[in-house]
Amino acid sequence: MTARPAPGGAAPGPDPLWVRLPQAFRIPFSGMRREIATAVIGLLASIAIGSVLMLIAGKAPGQVWWAMLSGTVSDPSLLGQALYKATGLALTGLAVALALDAGLFNIGAEGQLTAGVVVCALVGTALPAATPAAIAVPVCLIAAAAAGALIGSVIGVMKAARGAHEVITSFMLNAIVSGLALFLGNRVMFRNGTTTGAPIAPGAELPHLGIGGSSANASILVAVLAVAVVWWLRARSTWGRTWRAVGQSPDAARTTGTSIGKVQVLVMIGSGALAGLAAANFVMGNKHAFEEGLGRGTGFTGVAVALLGRMHPVGVVIAALLLGFLSSGGVAVSDVVPKELVEMLPGVVVLAVAAAVPLVRRMEAA
């Protein structure tokens, strides 16, 4: 059919090149392939934009990208550091992805992580020094998750009960939690004159993996376990089926008997708990104490991880590793390009993936 409704009165013209080109190559899209295409296009666009930024900074993009890759791979400490970053990002990314899967854009993983860091450190410090690991580790993990879950539940309840938009509430809670953390730090935790708190009980410490003296630590197991659990729930359980129905088709979920509000609250509790768990990586696995600014940015970059990972737990792991390596790569080339340039890239990824979503849908519809 040639006649298409043309809102605004524009005459229907031929589709632009970027729609026709993939048609010519007959890229078949369906479910998983669509998501992979979105991620790949978003990633390629990010690399292109990153290259332009490097050109503006007066560097040859090819050389910089190569230096990032070779520099990271050849240096065990940078590799380990990438893994350390990826551990935290996998958990916050999973938190954002879980909420997004249920139709909630939780950009408050930052605040939920901060709450986890504070409470994990408080509980870890309060435990008697002789507490065995078998008790101290689970207690501190539960404390971190519970703190994040509490913040998440506030967002969920406000959404379900009053229809308050989760982007607004989660963003504002980030500011509130960050202020509270500093307040608690100053009043209770910082040892005189420093921005570091007392060490947690030795039993609550998670060992470093010893990769080139990097911060990579055993909390990677927590991340792997969380990914596995979320994957199983999402793919194999009625819970996952329900939260995805709420995310993709709330009308159908409601009509077939699901309480949307209940699901939103539970999902935000789960999302907050995952973000809070990322504290394990920073407090229990690395610094063994509360520290001002610990883990900062991991929650926000988690948004990029979730979007690039297309809300799928496996995608989140891949995206977390990618952005973890990118961060190490930034260190590897820090004497060539300004560090700020590399720090811009997660933001670029968010924009590029967001732009790729409608593009892929159009290619699919065509």
Partner: protein, 518 residues
């Protein structure tokens, strides 16, 4: 004046003969419309007859697939006729739910897309004054600088009418303008139309309310199933209100009085009541409604869309807060029950809109057939074998195509999508009551037959079935009893043999359109 004479008249403002298809659905088949200059022309028909589509093509809001169209005697190309061209030609349209950008002022809305410019800046002053003067001249004073969203619906609609007149309004098309108005506003609008007509404006009024037609129309074109049935002209000598034979128009709208096939044997009068509504109230939309459905009985709810049927269905399904009255399902109080609790009482719910409520379009056929059915999926861990087996059985039984449980529901045709909803809902265990809202809307004939079979089957198995449909033929073919809704009330009821009589159809049609009291 006969239809042929009207066509021959050289003073036509609009001459149209149009085709339109939406997907598999042929909406218009050579539908003809001839509107003479300076007349009020009513375009009437049942829901889905194609009235709105026809005028939207004339106004360039949607593209026609083929046919011919002439505006003020000038032939235009149907395939390229769009809103911009129609607006330039002076065709004004006021759409059903209004098309104002809420935060903009009346004058900003009026010039949207054709803003008068002075240099790079928009100049609204003269346009506002022109609107104000125009409003005063035709007796519809209005404030051009008021924000559209702050105006009551009726006033906002008047502002849209003035904006359309400001751009020429050759002709002025009003698409079901009274659907969103209160009775007083309706009277005001009809008064306005009479004034405009007296001033020589050509008006096309799309409606299914025959009292409005009787009040203002000079000529009436009746559409049925996308085709023009006939055109009536008012007898100018007769007394106002008596110039048109509304009974004949109602008959033309609903079609001939063929005796419908007899449905299955009616249940015994003492069969237990499985659904009972006592004085159920939903806002202003559903007014103190009483309704009883017995086991084995198929009850139809007839009526033109928007007369409270939607609220009735939502109230029974538990998807809207009722402001009064009581609901019992399977003899258990259910007024406060959640939708899930109602399903547990044996309710099945086929919602009126499969795309927004019935189905999870991005999930598979198998997942949709098991949506909300923990008896099939299991409580926590999904029993995939059972989900697949259930999907296979329903696909076979309802002939869902493609017969692939892993197919995305979005890719299915409307009829097959609807079969998925039917399959999920009617396979519920311990069914006591089936609520089917528009179960065959936009569905092909083959699917209609299967869906009707399943509904009859459910009744035969002992469930009470409530079918809400805008399609009277469907209800006559299915139901033991039909109630008619008008303005949020049940205004009449026909049962058993009375439904088989010749004339049952026009009697129900008259109730639906409010031509005569029950």
């Amino acid at each position: 004046m006969t239809g042929a004479a009207i066509e021959a008249a050289g003073d036509a403002m609009v001459t149209a003969e149009l085709d339109k298809r939406y997907g598999a659905n042929q909406v218009l088949t050579g539908a003809r419309l001839t509107v003479r200059r300076g007349t009020v022309h009513a375009l009437v028909g049942e829901n889905g007859a194609g009235k709105s589509t026809l005028v939207k093509i004339v106004a360039g809001v949607v593209h026609g697939d083929g046919g011919t169209l002439a505006i003020a005697g000038k032939r235009v190309e149907v395939a390229t006729w769009d809103r911009r061209a129609a607006r330039a030609a002076g065709v004004g349209i006021v759409q059903q739910h209004g098309a104002s950008a809420g935060t903009l002022s009346v004058v900003e809305n009026a010039v949207l897309g054709v803003e008068p410019l002075r240099g790079p800046l928009i100049e609204l002053g003269p346009a506002a004054e022109a609107l104000r003067a125009l409003g005063q001249r035709i007796g519809l004073p209005g404030e051009p600088w008021a924000a559209a969203e702050r105006l009551p619906v009726g006033v906002a609609q008047r502002a849209e009418i003035i904006a359309a007149l400001h751009h020429g309004a050759k002709p002025l098309i009003l698409d079901e303008p009274t659907a969103v108005l209160t009775p007083i506003e309706v009277d005001g609008l009809l008064e306005t139309l009479r004034k405009l007509a007296a001033g020589g404006t050509t008006i096309v009024l799309v409606t299914h309310k025959l009292d409005e037609v009787r009040a203002v129309a000079d000529e009436v074109t009746v559409l049925r199933a996308g085709k023009t049935v006939t055109t009536f002209a008012a007898n100018r000598e007769a007394a106002p209100g008596d110039r048109l034979d509304v009974a004949a128009i109602a008959r033309a709208m609903v079609g001939t009085d063929l005796p419908p096939p007899p449905p299955a044997a009616a249940p015994a009068a003492d069969a237990r009541i499985v659904l009972e509504l006592a004085g159920v109230l939903v806002g202003g939309e559903l007014q103190a409604t009483d309704l009883r459905v017995r086991a084995g009985e198929i009850v139809g709810v007839a009526g033109v869309d928007g007369n409270g049927q939607r609220e009735l269905a939502l109230a029974i399904a538990g998807l809207v807060r009722v402001s009064g009255g009581a609901i019992r399902i399977a003899d258990r109080p259910a007024t406060q029950a959640t939708p899930a609790a109602r399903f547990a009482l044996g309710l099945a719910h086929i919602p009126e809109d499969r795309q927004h409520g019935g189905l999870w379009l991005d999930a598979t056929v198998a997942d949709n057939l098991a949506l909300g059915r923990s008896d099939i999926t299991g409580r926590f861990r999904i029993d995939r074998a059972r989900v697949q087996a259930h999907a296979g059985a329903q696909i076979t039984e309802l002939d869902i195509r493609p017969g692939d449980p892993a197919a995305r529901v979005r890719s299915l045709s409307g009829g097959n999508q609807q079969k998925v909803v039917i399959g999920r809902e009617l396979s519920r265990r311990g069914l006591s009551c089936v609520l089917a809202a528009q179960p065959t809307r936009g569905v092909d004939l083959g699917a209609v037959v299967r869906i009707h079979d399943r509904l009859r089957g459910a009744a035969a198995a002992g469930a009470g079935v409530l079918v809400i449909s805008a399609d009277l033929d469907e209800l006559l073919a299915l139901c033991h009893r039909i109630v008619v809704m008008l303005r949020g009330r049940i205004v009449g009821e026909r049962e058993g043999a009375a439904l088989r009589e010749a004339g049952a159809r026009s009697a129900l049609g008259a109730l639906m359109t409010g031509v005569e009291a029950a």
